[in-house]
Amino acid sequence: MLSYDYVKCSDLKQAFDALKANEHAFPLAGGTDLMVGMRGGKFVPRLLVDIKGLEELKVLKEDSAGITIGSAVTLNQIALFEPVVKNAAPLAAGAHSVGSYPIRNRATLAGNLCNASPAADTAAPLYSLGAIINLVGPDQQRSMPIEEFFLGPGKTALQKGELVHSILIPKPYPAGKGVYIKASRTGSVDLSTVGVAVQNWGGKVRIAVGAVAPTPVRALAVEKAVNEGGEKDWARAAKQVHDDISPITDLRGSREYRYHIAEVLVRRGLEQTMGV
């Protein structure tokens, strides 16, 4: 059995003190990645700092700024939250596609992002929605666009002792349809082989692709062809995604397959959001 200490925090100060006091302290929210990683030896904590009981991290609300999702909010809560379903459809679909129903009762959006898998199913949707990540540390708070949060596989902009406080889907919301389409080996309980989020912003499109580069990436060449070049042939536009991605071969799919399926999913995404 693994041996470490555990502290259940009742406020953020307690969490920061605990994280500072022990070099091998890990924050614990849903724990669905952490527990698996600990068992496999990927993470070797000496102290688990349980933050899921903090009221301010359990916030799930919509106000004049947009939709705020606290770091202790579970994926099932997000996938069913009416303002997300209505205004941030790619995120509702991405959150709903993670793991299985019981896993989503524990797993959090913040955890999915901090794990920083390029295949994280909630990440591409947040790129397509222009999400802001709010970080909090013992001395300061800071915010950044999700593009700046993801640095590489397993790497984020989080500094030691810092926590994700919340994720903001800012207003104005996109005026148009959005989708997240995932190709995976099985219907559930698998990361995406390729995941594509496409969001129509009042006639302009914003596209992000997961599992095809060290971080999720925007399909900027496709966006340019559609938004600036006026391309209406979605199949031709989707081909541009080859310039935006650099996939590798791994257990979920080959490099060649990923190039192919990314193009297919981008085309479908354009058809579904921009009209056939």
């Binding site: 793991g99 019981p102 896993i103 219907g187």
Partner: protein, 155 residues
């Protein structure tokens, strides 16, 4: 030295105060400390669903929860479904429809199904597929499991 934490919780309707070892999963705690061995250990990485229990009414993989996280929570295991020695109607439906062969996945299947019926008394095939997406049956009794859930819903 093994570190222990005192936890207060409810299991199958009874209030309990126990010591839990830090680092012990809820699954091990249920089986080895509470001696409720109906909850099964399968993959231990949240993929098979054999260890599904209800925590505050919601299905979770008990292999991905720490025992110390049980503090203040209400836990229901497969043993909690029968009342006065009489099986729950969902358990009867599983027997009537022969919704298993080896039976190893059955406690997890029933707990996930119970949670589904609690939140959605008349589930469609699609609702059932989604709710049980985290529960694997290597004998392949999925069709019968769907029938058992629908039969129980009708009663």
């Amino acid at each position: 030295m093994t570190k222990k934490v005192t936890i207060n919780f409810t299991v199958n309707g009874d209030r309990e105060t126990r010591e839990a070892v830090v680092g012990q999963t809820l699954l091990k705690f249920i089986r080895e400390d509470l001696h409720l061995t109906g909850t099964k250990e399968g993959c231990e990485i949240g993929e098979c669903g054999a260890c599904t229990v209800l925590l505050d009414g919601k299905p979770v993989n008990s292999c991905l929860v720490l025992a110390v996280e049980l503090e203040g929570k209400e836990l229901v295991t497969i043993e909690g479904l029968s009342k006065n020695g009489e099986l729950d109607k969902l358990q009867h439906a599983f027997i009537d429809k022969f919704a298993f062969q080896c039976g190893y996945c059955t406690p997890g299947m029933i707990m996930a199904s119970k949670a589904l019926l609690d939140r959605n008394p008349n589930p469609t095939d699609e609702d059932i597929n989604e709710a049980l997406s985290g529960n694997l049956c290597r004998c392949g009794a999925y069709q019968e499991i769907r029938e058992a859930i629908k039969a129980s819903a009708k009663q």
